[in-house]
Amino acid sequence: MTVLEVSRYRPGIDAEPVFQRYEVPDNDDWAVLDGLNYVKDSVDGTLSFRWSCRMGICGSCGMTVNGEPRLTCGTFLADYDGVVRVEPLHGFPVIRDLVVDIEPFLEKLSSVSPWLIRSGEDPASEFAQTPAQLEAYKQYSMCINCMLCYSACPVYVLDPDFLGPAAIALAQRYNLDSRDEGDRFDVLSTDEGVWGCTFVGECTSACPKHVDPAEAIQRYKLTAAVRSVLPWVRL
């Protein structure tokens, strides 16, 4: 038996989260999410959490496992000794149990214009883009919006207005796309934008998809710095 110690918060009932323990059978193939589903299905139907794809791609199942932000569908019970503590992602308001409020992220995402900006008519065929040009932004396009990087970022936890790792990485995903003609300087080069980042680097360690948002941010700092001095230069 493995013991899961799960954070419970039921709005209107609990003033603040409390821990509840559940025993789940040992199974080497089980992810933390399988343990939670066992609880939900067989023990306590009141436990709430988000999940969907259970293959590490939909980004729903981020939680704090033994203090670290993790995708619970890709984190295995067998890798832990003793009690496994599951909490909602740190740094976010808790809606219920393991479910957090990510609404502010969606607003931040919109604010960086995460779409291809071009003027003029589209051609009838595709825009040419060489494999090297694709490679230049590809990594930043791999973000699954799982919010682990925000949870790991002390700046975000202290200042919820910080644009944050994933939103900036996604802005860079378009900035570095050879097809894009947009300019996201006004949103990015602000105190809540890249300059809010003190380069702790934890976002990159937390990211399950190797997006390396810390790199995206530092690169834009350089871009923004150069542009502040030489406004006509486009990096």
């Binding site: 209107g12 779409w115 595709e126 699954i144």
Partner: protein, 577 residues
């Protein structure tokens, strides 16, 4: 409790309400916005969590030199064992390339040739290279591109984490939906001139599936209860290569890149099932690149001959990618490697991947015409939830994503046009959806779900018999009654996922009944529907779609509807010869 009828969450009647934020729903939303109307995308998960995100292999559309629309149409029709409506297929293959280019213009990071053109790869059942791909995360990139693009249209609003429980239909005309705001638990009516269902498939009616937790066939059940028929529900696609415990898909692209299927003796067994002779390099429409129904049936053949390997999670054969080498695997199918490493604790560069057939896709769905219109005025359906039908008795891999785009766009345009002239529905109070009342013997939702899944697997798996199906009809009816009396642990309002699970179970039971009833009615074998008691295809009796209507007692009534044939009369399906 009665829902706040007039005080709907939007405070107004929307032009077009789109239920579902996957590829089909988001593409429809953009089409409506570009037509200048307002729309709302309502979805039970944030749109970027929709199941489209898991699609790996690619999206088919003719662009390569030497390929033609007719060939794509022929591959699709023969792949579908002549059950596709050929007018729909012709339209589909014509519009697919345009939609894929449109996605490129919106920023989709398609994989490229050295000269900067979009690259295409081979795929099962296709005789030309025509599958566009973004490495092996095609669905992920497609969905995020679409979602991020919707953010630029002020005409598109969203209701995220809302769950639709009922369609509001008055005098044969759609007026909106009843939905629960999952965060608060409140129920409300959302009024709309037109509604598009884009709620995806329902693989979760089976126990072992590649489908995500959210794929519970809700839209199909909603339309069915509102009086629209479900078409061809007996055709359920098994994908030949799922990982044994999780059901995680190993994309067909792994075979398109040159992977082999071998049995316990390391023998490429497909050669014994009329699928061609083994070659070192992949050959189109042959061996591992045959269609999915035939490959999954071949697995059962191997099982019967005792040439599979038993594991704690069922019998398996193996997918061998080792000869492709690390570099090719990393360049073309990196996600396959990532998934094998995390979930199967093996590396395909050096190890065989254990695989077994897994429920993957529903060819059937809400009956629509080629504009996505259902028989209910103002109600449209698109994507996996709809059946137009271009997939017939067996969908070809990589036809589904372009289907979502082509018919999502068409349904969006048609709905916008309809909404432009339709009258505004009058807001009124509507009752809540009844929930299980706990009056039974205290059965849990999860246990009932498991029983339903077993029933379906036993009766409506890769091979079916009349007797098994007959039995399943009774079991499902019994389950439906028990589900009404199930017990819920959770009576709270905010983020009550158990309540949502109960409503989803209700939907799944409805569509499970239509699957079984349609399978029982179809006394022939065609594509993904194989009846051991009727092993031959019967064009005399069954070159026709099944239509399942909900009868007065809640059980399905099945009738037949002729297939549209334009230029390709029914013939033999030939692979590898």
């Amino acid at each position: 409790m009665v829902a706040r009828g007039a005080g709907d969450p939007l405070g107004r009647v929307v032009d077009v309400l789109i239920v579902g934020g996957g590829a089909a729903g988001l593409r429809a939303a953009i089409a409506v916005a570009e037509a200048g109307l307002e729309c709302t995308v309502l979805s039970k998960v944030y749109p970027m969590r929709s199941h489209t995100v898991s699609a790996e292999g690619g999206a088919a559309g003719v662009i390569g030199v030497g390929d033609t629309l007719d060939e794509h149409a022929y591959d699709t029709i023969s792949g579908g064992d002549w059950l596709c409506d050929q007018d729909a297929v012709e339209m589909f293959v014509r519009e697919a390339p345009r939609e894929l280019i449109q996605l490129e213009h919106w920023g989709c990071p398609w994989s490229r040739e050295p000269d900067g053109r979009v690259a295409v790869r081979p795929f099962g059942g296709m005789r030309q290279l025509r599958t566009w791909f973004a490495a092996d995360k095609t669905g992920f990139h497609l969905l995020h591109t679409l979602f991020q693009t919707t953010l630029k249209y002020p005409q598109i609003s969203r209701l995220d984490e809302w769950y639709v429980t009922r369609l509001l239909v008055e005098d044969g005309r759609i007026e909106g939906v009843v939905a629960i705001d999952i965060k608060t638990g409140e129920t409300a009516a959302v009024w709309a001139k037109a509604v598009i269902l884009a709620t995806g498939g329902g693989g979760k009616v089976f126990p072992f599936t590649t489908n995500a937790a959210i794929k519970t066939g809700d839209g199909m059940a909603l339309a069915y209860r509102a009086g629209a028929p479900l078409k061809d529900m007996e055709f359920v696609q098994y994908h030949p290569t799922g990982l044994p415990f999780t059901g995680i898909l190993i994309t067909e692209a792994a075979r398109a890149e040159g992977g082999w299927l071998v049995n316990k003796d390391g023998y490429r067994y497909l050669q014994d099932y009329d699928l061609g002779v083994p070659t070192d390099k992949p050959k189109l429409r042959s061996m591992e690149l045959g269609p999915r129904d035939r490959l999954s049936q071949a697995f059962v053949g191997e099982l019967d001959k005792g040439r599979t390997v038993e594991t704690p999670y069922g019998h398996v054969t193996f997918l061998d990618l080792r000869h492709l080498g690390e570099e090719r695997i990393e360049a073309r199918i990196p996600f396959v490697r990532e998934l094998c490493r995390s979930y199967q604790k093996l590396d395909p560069v050096t190890d065989l991947i254990p695989v077994r057939p897994v429920v993957h896709y529903m060819m059937g769905g809400v009956h629509t015409d080629i504009d996505g219109a259902t028989p209910i005025a103002g109600l449209y359906a698109a994507g996996e939830t709809a059946c137009v039908s271009i997939n017939g008795a067996n969908r070809l891999g990589s036809n589904s994503l372009p289907e979502c785009l082509v018919f999502g766009a068409r349904a969006g345009l048609a709905a916008a046009e309809y909404a432009g002239t339709a009258a505004k529905p009058a807001a009124r109070a509507v009752p809540d959806e009844p929930l299980p009342d706990g009056s039974g013997s205290g059965e849990r939702i999860a246990d009932l779900r498991t029983e339903m899944q077993r029933t379906l697997e036993d009766a409506a798996g890769i091979y079916r018999t009349g007797d098994d199906l007959e039995k399943a009809v009774g079991s499902l009816r019994d389950l439906r009654e028990r589900a009404k009396k199930a017990k819920l642990d959770d009576s709270s309002t905010s983020f009550n996922t158990e309540r949502i699970n109960a409503l989803e179970l209700g939907c799944m039971l409805d569509i499970a009944e239509t699957i079984v009833a349609s399978a029982l009615n179809r006394e022939e074998s065609r594509g993904a529907h194989q009846r051991s008691d009727f092993p031959k295809r019967d064009d005399e009796g069954f070159l026709a779609h099944s239509l399942a209507h909900q009868g007065p007692d809640g059980s399905p009534v099945v009738s037949l509807l002729p297939v549209t044939i334009t230029r390709w009369p029914p013939g033999e399906r030939v692979y590898g010869r």
